[in-house]
C-alpha cells in the first residue's frame, strides 16, 4: 500500500475573540482534534457549513498557519514553521486555490507574469524554459498563450480561476488545497472548472484536499469525504457510499438538503435551531441542539469518531452505540 502523502493527527486551533471593546476574551475552537490522511493521488473532500472550521483545517494542512496541538506530516516529514526558508521551499510542492480568484491575483501584473512567478520564486528553469512552461500551463487550463498578456481585470471569473489553477500547477506540486474553488463562479462555469480539475488531477496524479459546502461538487471529485461540524469531524467515508447512505444525523440533513435527481423533496430533513456559532459550542455533541434524534446523553458526552464497518467512521451516540468507548 502506498504511504499517505498527507497525514494530519489530532490538530487543534483556537483563536481568542473579544466581544466588544471591554468584553472578556473567549477562546474560539475553530478546529478541535481533527485527524485525516490523504493517500497519494487521491482527493479528500471536506464538507461543512461556514464556521465549521473547514477553511482553518485547510490552512493548517497546507502549513499556512501552525496548529496549537497535533501535527501535520507531509511526505513523511513534519511541516516547517510558517515563514522560514524551509517552509518557503516546501511551497513548491503544495499550493492553494482560493475562493476569490480576483482577490488572489495582483491586478497590476499581467496574468502570464503571475503564472511564471512561482518558477521565479523557486528558481526553476532558465528564463526561456519558464516562458515555455507558462504557455504550456495556459494550454493545460484550456486558455491560449494570448491570455497571458492580459490583466486580471480583463478576464472573466472562470478564466481567472483557470489562471489561479495554472499558477498553482506551475511548480508541478504534489498536493493542492482547494478552498471553495468554484463557489464564487456562475453555476454553468462551475462544472467546467470542476471537470478541468478532475482531468488535471488524473493527468498529473495530484493529491487534493477539496473544501466546499457544495455536496454535488464534492461528490463528483472526491474519493473520500469528511463532514465537519463546529471544528470536529462527525463522519468520514468513501464518497459514493457516504452520500448514498449517510449515518450521522447531520450528514443526513445535509444530503437531504442537497438537490439530487430522482429524489423527492418530501423526505427532506429541516434543521431546527440556531446555525452553529463557534464561540458558543454546546456541551456534549455539538450538534445536539439541532439534532432531530438527540437523546439525553448527547447533551453530556462528546461522541468519539469510531468505525461502524467498512471504511466509515461516525461520531454519534445513536449510530455507534455503547460499544464505541471501548473500541476507541
Amino acid at each position: 500500500m502506498n504511504a499517505p502523502l498527507v497525514a494530519v493527527s489530532a490538530i487543534s486551533r483556537s483563536y481568542s475573540m473579544r466581544s466588544g471593546m471591554f468584553g472578556r476574551a473567549a477562546a474560539v475552537h475553530a478546529v478541535d482534534g481533527v485527524s485525516l490522511t490523504i493517500p497519494r493521488g487521491e482527493t479528500l473532500g471536506l464538507v461543512g457549513e461556514s464556521g465549521s472550521g473547514k477553511s482553518t483545517t485547510g490552512r493548517i494542512v497546507l502549513g499556512l498557519e501552525p496548529p496549537d496541538h497535533g501535527e501535520v506530516r507531509f511526505d513523511g516529514k513534519p511541516m516547517a514553521a510558517p515563514g522560514t526558508a524551509t517552509w518557503r521551499a516546501q511551497r513548491a510542492r503544495m499550493q492553494m486555490i482560493f475562493q476569490d480568484p480576483l482577490g488572489a491575483l495582483d491586478r497590476r501584473l499581467p496574468v502570464g507574469t503571475q503564472i511564471r512567478e512561482p518558477l521565479d520564486i523557486h528558481g526553476l528553469g532558465t528564463p526561456g524554459e519558464r516562458e515555455e512552461r507558462v504557455r504550456e500551463l495556459l494550454r493545460d487550463v484550456e486558455l491560449t498563450p494570448a491570455h497571458g498578456a492580459r490583466y486580471p481585470g480583463a478576464l472573466s471569473g472562470g478564466q481567472r480561476q483557470r489562471i489561479v489553477l495554472a499558477q498553482a500547477l506551475a511548480t508541478k506540486p504534489d498536493f493542492l488545497v482547494c478552498d471553495e474553488p468554484v463557489s464564487a463562479l456562475d453555476v454553468s462555469i462551475q462544472a467546467q472548472v470542476v471537470n478541468l480539475l478532475c482531468d488535471l488531477q488524473a493527468q498529473l496524479s495530484l493529491t487534493l484536499l477539496f473544501i466546499s459546502h457544495d455536496l454535488r461538487v464534492v461528490r463528483q471529485i472526491s474519493n473520500v469525504v469528511a463532514v465537519m461540524y463546529l471544528g470536529r469531524i462527525v463522519e468520514i467515508g468513501l464518497a459514493d457510499d457516504l452520500f448514498a447512505q449517510p449515518e450521522h444525523p447531520y450528514t443526513q440533513a445535509l444530503v437531504s438538503a442537497s438537490p439530487a435527481p430522482g429524489r423527492r423533496s418530501a423526505g427532506r430533513i429541516v434543521l431546527a435551531g440556531d446555525p452553529p456559532n463557534p464561540a458558543a459550542r454546546p456541551n456534549g455533541c455539538a450538534f445536539h441542539p439541532r439534532c432531530p434524534r438527540a437523546i439525553a446523553r448527547c447533551a453530556q458526552e462528546v461522541p468519539v469518531l469510531s468505525a461502524v464497518g467498512g471504511n466509515r467512521q461516525v461520531a454519534c451516540h445513536l449510530v455507534t452505540g455503547a460499544a464505541t468507548r471501548d473500541a476507541a
Partner: protein
C-alpha cells in the same frame, strides 16, 4: 459586446485622454520648466551667480543686460534665481525621496512584524505628528551646525509619518486577504511580497501623499534659508534670496519678489497636480 464596439470605446478613451484641465496643464508645464532649469541652470544663466557687476548695482528689472535686475553687489538676479531653483529643487526632491522611502519602509516593517515593532513605529509617528517640525529642525541645526547633506537629510525627516501610516494600513489589509496572502503561500520572500506586489498596488496613494509633502518641504526649506539657518552663502536658494532681498525691500523689491513668486507658483503647481491626481487615482484619500 462585439469587436467593433470594443474598438470604438478604446478609440474614445484615447481621444478623451488629453481632457486634462487647463490649470493642471499649466501646473505640469511650470514644473517641467522648473526641472529643465534645475538641470541646466549653469548653461542657461547669463552670468555666474556670484559674478559681480559693480557698475550696474541695484539695476531695476528690464535692464537690457539684466532682465530681472541686479542686487546690491551687482549680481544678476536672473542667474541667481536659476541656480536657487536648482538648489531648492535638489533639496525638495532629495528630502521627499528620503521621507517617502523611510516612511514606507517603516510602515512595511510595522505591518510585517506587528507586535513591538509596530508599537514602536506608531509611537514615533505620533511623536513626529505632535511636535512642530520647524522647532525640531531648528534644534538639530543648532546642535549639528549646517551643511547641504545635513539639510537634505533633515528635511527628509519631514512628512515620513504620513507614508508610514498609509503604508502600514494598506499593507496590513493586503496581507490579511487577497493577492499578498496568495503570493506568500507561493513561497515568496517578504521582500518580494512587499516590493513587487504591495508597493505597486499602493503606489498611487503614496504618490498623492508625495504631492502633499513636496510643497511643504519647499516652504520649510525656504523658511529656514530665509532665517539664515538653511542653505548658507555663497550657495543660494529661493528662501535665501528672499531673506537677502528683504534688506533691500524699499530700494529694490525685485530681488525679493522674483524668488518669492517662484516659491508660490511652484508650491501652487504641485498642489494643483496633487489635487488632480488625488481625484483620478485615489478618491478615498480625504
Amino acid at each position: 459586446m462585439s469587436d467593433v464596439t470594443l474598438k470604438e470605446t478604446a478609440l474614445r478613451r484615447r481621444i478623451s485622454l488629453p481632457a486634462i484641465p487647463v490649470s493642471v496643464l499649466l501646473a505640469i508645464g511650470w514644473i517641467v520648466a522648473m526641472l529643465v532649469i534645475a538641470a541646466f541652470a549653469e548653461m542657461i544663466a547669463p552670468y555666474g551667480f556670484t559674478q559681480l557687476d559693480l557698475r550696474n548695482r541695484l539695476a531695476a528689472p528690464g535692464n537690457p543686460a539684466h532682465w530681472l535686475g541686479t542686487d546690491e553687489l551687482g549680481r544678476d538676479v536672473l542667474s541667481r534665481l536659476l541656480v536657487s531653483i536648482r538648489i531648492s529643487l535638489l533639496i525638495a526632491f532629495g528630502a521627499t525621496a528620503i521621507s517617502a522611502i523611510v516612511g514606507t519602509t517603516l510602515g512595511f516593517l510595522a505591518a510585517h512584524f506587528r507586535g513591538a515593532v509596530e508599537q514602536l513605529v506608531l509611537m514615533l509617528t505620533d511623536f513626529q505628528a505632535s511636535m512642530p517640525f520647524l522647532i525640531m529642525a531648528l534644534a538639530v541645526l543648532a546642535f549639528f551646525g549646517n551643511s547641504l547633506p545635513l539639510l537634505i537629510g533633515l528635511m527628509g525627516l519631514f512628512g515620513w509619518e504620513r507614508y508610514a501610516r498609509i503604508a502600514r494600513g494598506l499593507a496590513i489589509s493586503a496581507n490579511a486577504q487577497g493577492y499578498a496572502a496568495a503570493v506568500r503561500q507561493l513561497g515568496a520572500t517578504p521582500s518580494r511580497i512587499y516590493l513587487r506586489h504591495i508597493l505597486p498596488n499602493i503606489a498611487s496613494t503614496l504618490i498623492v501623499s508625495t504631492t502633499l509633502v513636496f510643497p511643504e518641504v519647499i516652504l520649510m526649506e525656504s523658511g529656514l534659508s530665509f532665517l539664515g539657518l538653511g542653505v548658507q552663502p555663497p550657495m543660494t536658494s529661493l528662501g535665501n534670496m528672499v531673506g537677502y532681498g528683504r534688506e533691500y525691500l524699499t530700494r529694490a523689491p525685485w530681488i525679493m519678489l522674483a524668488p518669492a513668486t517662484t516659491i508660490v507658483v511652484t508650491t501652487l503647481a504641485v498642489s494643483v497636480i496633487g489635487d488632480w491626481l488625488r481625484d483620478r487615482l485615489d478618491p478615498t484619500l480625504q
